[in-house]
Symmetry: C2
Subunit: 184 residues, 2 copies
């Protein structure tokens, strides 16, 4: 079923989805020839029995052929400081160039971002096609975590991050109260 | 495949997933007898050809039988002020009680939260089972949006929201500077 670009329901759906905040992840794999990476927000936990994840990939994306051929893939949850990696793997760079920015290593043969908030390596177990996309299901085989919890977030067509630590807001409020008492 | 609660990989996966920020949504349906609602973070866009969404639901959840019998479902993306609705539909309330809090209406026979950030009504088109969960695929049939973009976000086991408007931070800074000048 094709939807024309000017389909009003597609246009409204896009507007509605601008309101869905998501963590930004880079999905990576090695297809036996080379490594591949693609920025994605359509990444989610699926089950804990067994621990498993889903990733939705457009069949028109170059990454689709790579993940289709790979036995494993990794989900690398980006930190707020990883905007350059998100943009590079989101279209600015191509192929191996996508690994020029960032601290890339590997885990069980899969490229991983060593300072990702979390890196979740999965064995590909199933694929379901619907419309323009495939849903890939992976069973978790390896986990890594790095640093404080401060993920990069995508909302309303832009990047943002979580609010600063409550203690910062509290400190500002305390300073305002203190200065008020001195000033008044 | 069963995973014991003390499976170290499941425990690590849970820790890693605390680092994945998500919008909070309430998924709703009418199964022909009554209306049902369940809080979910495993909700995502799937395709724009056709406009479609996915929702992952635990087969052990009461909501699973309801969405399984329903022809349509709605994804209601919560606003930062909807924490009570998230908690009610996340387990505190049961059945019809879940609709006691919030401005509920209906759209093409499906319960919708009229002041949700966005409400996305879908015709159920496919279901795929994996592990403990089912992935439901819905083709978008109706969209509603409400208010400024300010979604409720779940991260690290707690609720939060996007950082306040820059103008608020700027206003606090201006007040601090002004008070400093008066006080010093």
């Amino acid at each position: 079923m094709q939807t024309l670009p000017d389909d009003p329901l597609a246009a409204q759906t896009k507007l509605a989805l601008r309101r869905l905040a998501s963590s930004v992840a880079v999905v990576t794999c090695h297809d036996g020839h080379s490594r591949h990476a693609m920025t994605a927000t359509a990444v989610n936990a699926l089950s804990m029995q067994p621990p498993s994840m889903i990733v939705c990939v457009n069949r028109a994306a170059a990454f689709h052929a790579a993940i289709n051929d790979a036995a494993r893939f990794a989900i690398n949850i980006l930190h707020r400081n990883h905007v350059d990696i998100s943009m590079g793997c989101g279209g600015k760079a191509r192929g191996e160039e996508r690994f020029e920015f960032g601290a890339w290593g590997e885990d069980t043969g899969v490229p991983v971002l060593t300072d990702a908030q979390a890196r979740i390596v999965c064995a590909k177990e199933a694929k379901f096609d619907y419309g323009s996309h495939s849903i890939f299901i992976g069973r978790v085989v390896s986990i890594g975590m790095h640093g404080e919890i401060d993920p990069l977030i995508y909302i309303d067509g832009r990047y943002t991050c979580l609010p600063a630590d409550q203690s910062v807001a509290t400190a500002a409020q305390v300073e305002i109260e203190m200065l008020r008492q001195i000033a008044m």
